[in-house]
Symmetry: C2
Subunit: 448 residues, 2 copies
């Protein structure tokens, strides 16, 4: 973990059209809408979450950058159309020419969100905008779930170094996106090499138990041989995994082989708090006072917080992070809210939400602490906020089908989130279950 | 939902090398192992889960077919190597020539597994086999988590039609794999179009609330116009979504527009049991006795089971399915168990498991009901099972780096699982939390 590089190439690998990463019903709706003219009506769709996952105080918007790239590749080529032989010819012809030509606005990546926040607003004809439902939700629901969990872990770690190493516990492509979301949320590095290639995220990692076990001979284990081989290749600044056999012996072997200049030791099992203290004492007694301690193994935000008083220098987090720590999806929905200027809303159940396109501001005291989020009809007058600053939360992302210039980069979004988190009232960063950190006030368009 | 097609093309789209879908530490281990000769030692790695998710009675192996394809593409081309500039030249040269040349055996897709089951066995040199850790775990942990949850839902549905529609609640590529795992587990169709292209899975889907809302005018909603447009395009056999406004009026509108030959109505919100009964009565009273009822909206295996007595014809399942219904990852690990014929195992903690390559059989009574799983040292004598049949659970998958002929197809694996589930003792199919459906007996190699 001690050596790490940042790859400056942030390019995506070549990939095919993304247009089939969607649900069949979007295409059948387009087909029916083309026949009766609904296809061309001007629409506004909004992405929002009705609530935060149980007990969470805030959510973190993530995935927008990925989504904008995927929308650019949302085309129906011959290969895609060949698989849609159940569609009528007019619809196939329309899909062949499809490219999104509308506009997208939204909360920037790394922005906090709360129940009802209009995190993405898609404007265009019904047919062109309805097609993006599944892709938009897949990306935002996954990435925001991971970033929201990761941000809590970063808070819990209180400045200590954190490495994302959860690739093995999630789908192989979701792993790349999870590494990106984790980095956005403030983690320092990832184990995932594709995330380095695609998103220029620093990587970390040195060895697994298999490496130590692989140095066994007919005479038994040979941990020292494994450590020596690793140091010969990765240098004395590397991190040695010391809990394959006996941890105390492992630490002794590590310092014997590496000397007191060893970069770090990693502990991956057992009572991490107790072991960290023992290992710290042992390292100090051996003169390895600068050797760091990395812990890993089923850590979530609560376990990270519980280790705050222990001599831990770095956390490796995996399963809990990539699965959203109990909330594996953000639960956002993509809803038609306006058609030809007419506000519309489903109204058969408690799922009701106000129709009409919505704008949002967040108010703050002079100290910077945020007070509330206010959602109001787009085009209406923003509410008065006497004595408070008011920051608009939506930024333009796509205009006439083209990404706007100067969209935030991933490092910029990462900094934005770090700044946003410190604006929360202090209880907003609590790990215990609670209400959203700030209330949301919705001014409906019904008064208009 | 009423019309559906099976696309016979099961090809994967072109995609790049998969070699970077892995963790940095695998490459640093290869680098160190190349320097001291460990790279060439003959190894056996095994994939297994130490336990099932809390309270689950069985797990379902899924993802193997995808994994074998991804292993074939696990190559380091110039693009990949360019991002690994922190590696030494010898390692880069070795990676450039890399292709897996060992063997892989495992539980076939659709096989049940239990704690400790050796679901995948990878044999090769240390360097070539250690590289596959992350990819193998990502695929198996994700797909098995989804299939394991899906199989419970299929049991709960007791033969009623089920449609997977969870793409929007998971990463866009995980969605394709989830659709595949759900089909393996017995669901009838998916909403996901890429899953149809890649895996020849039947698709389903007709319309969302947005389609009905999009027919609103300045005079207000016009549900009938939406239904008429849908029927004009998709035919009277289609499924109309009736809960956008008032469900009773929606059903009346649906039959008025479609006539009593309407294929189905879908209810997506509210108390689905109560609504299904009301809607059934209303449909019958309108003469639409053959019109089916599809329900969707936050269904999990418990909600599906609770609707068993109601007049529901089809279930649409989403969030809960693609997130593994509380267990979003199967928690399998990839462990070195043998090197140059020497059994090895980590032994510093409770994570201990017996070293040495393992084989497995499952015993059954004459009735077909399974009795126990027995894990024993590979190469050793299988245990006697008087009065019981004994089925070996591992099949060859890759030999000398090449997939063996006649690997099970996805439909074959789907049938295999359906047959396997009926061999469980009756309590094994219970939805409540419990112990594994059958015990696992492990005969260790320590006696050898």
């Amino acid at each position: 973990m001690s050596s790490e590089d940042t790859n400056p190439r942030a390019r995506r690998p070549d990939r095919g059209a993304t247009a089939l990463l969607t649900d069949r019903y979007e295409l059948t709706m387009v087909a029916a809408a083309l026949q009766d003219g609904t296809a061309d009506r001007e629409c506004t769709f909004e992405v929002f979450g009705r609530r935060l996952p149980d007990g969470r105080r805030y959510g973190v918007v993530a995935g927008t950058g990925r989504l904008l790239d995927l929308v650019a590749d949302f085309r129906f080529g011959d290969d895609e159309l060949a698989t849609l032989d159940w569609l009528d010819g007019d619809t196939v012809d329309w899909l062949r020419d499809y490219r999104f030509s509308g506009s997208i606005d939204g909360y920037r990546e790394g922005e906090l969100y709360f129940p009802g926040s209009p995190v993405l607003t898609v404007r265009g004809t019904f047919a062109e905008a309805v097609l993006l439902e599944t892709l938009a939700l897949s990306v935002l629901n996954h990435d925001s779930a991971v970033a929201s969990a990761a941000a809590r872990m970063v808070s819990a770690a209180a400045g200590r170094r954190m490495i994302e190493m959860g690739s093995r516990r999630t789908h192989e492509e979701a792993a790349v996106a999870a590494a990106r979301a984790a980095y956005l949320a403030g983690l320092d590095a990832t184990s995932n090499l594709e995330a380095a290639r695609r998103h220029a995220i620093p990587t970390a990692g040195t060895s697994a138990h298999a490496f130590t076990l692989a140095h066994a001979s007919a005479d038994g284990p040979d941990e020292r041989a494994a450590f020596a081989a690793q140091i010969a290749t990765l240098g004395v600044g590397t991190t040695l995994l010391v809990d394959t056999y006996d941890i105390t012996q492992g630490v002794a072997n590590a310092i014997e082989v590496a000397g007191p200049g060893l970069g770090a030791v990693r502990i991956d099992s057992g009572d991490l708090g107790v072991l960290a203290r023992q290992v710290r004492d042992q390292l100090d007694a051996l003169g390895a006072t600068e050797t760091k301690i990395v812990v890993s193994g089923d850590l979530d935000e609560y376990a990270i917080a519980a280790l705050r008083a222990e001599p831990v220098d770095s956390y490796g987090v995996g399963t809990s992070l990539v699965t959203g720590s109990g909330a594996p999806t953000a639960g956002m929905v993509y809803k038609l809210v306006e058609i030809d200027g007419i506000p519309v809303t489903k109204r058969s159940s408690h799922k009701e939400s106000p129709g009409g396109a919505k704008s949002a501001i967040r108010t703050a005291r002079r100290s910077g602490t945020v007070v509330e989020e206010v959602i109001f009809p787009t085009g209406g007058t923003p509410p008065e906020t006497p004595g408070l600053s008011a920051t608009p939360l939506q930024i333009p992302m796509i205009r006439d089908g083209e990404p706007v210039d100067d969209l935030p980069t991933l490092p910029e979004s990462r900094e934005h989130l770090a700044r946003a988190l410190v604006t929360l009232p202090w209880e907003g960063l609590g790990l215990s279950r609670g209400e959203p950190a700030i209330p949301t006030r919705t001014i409906t368009g019904r008064d208009r």
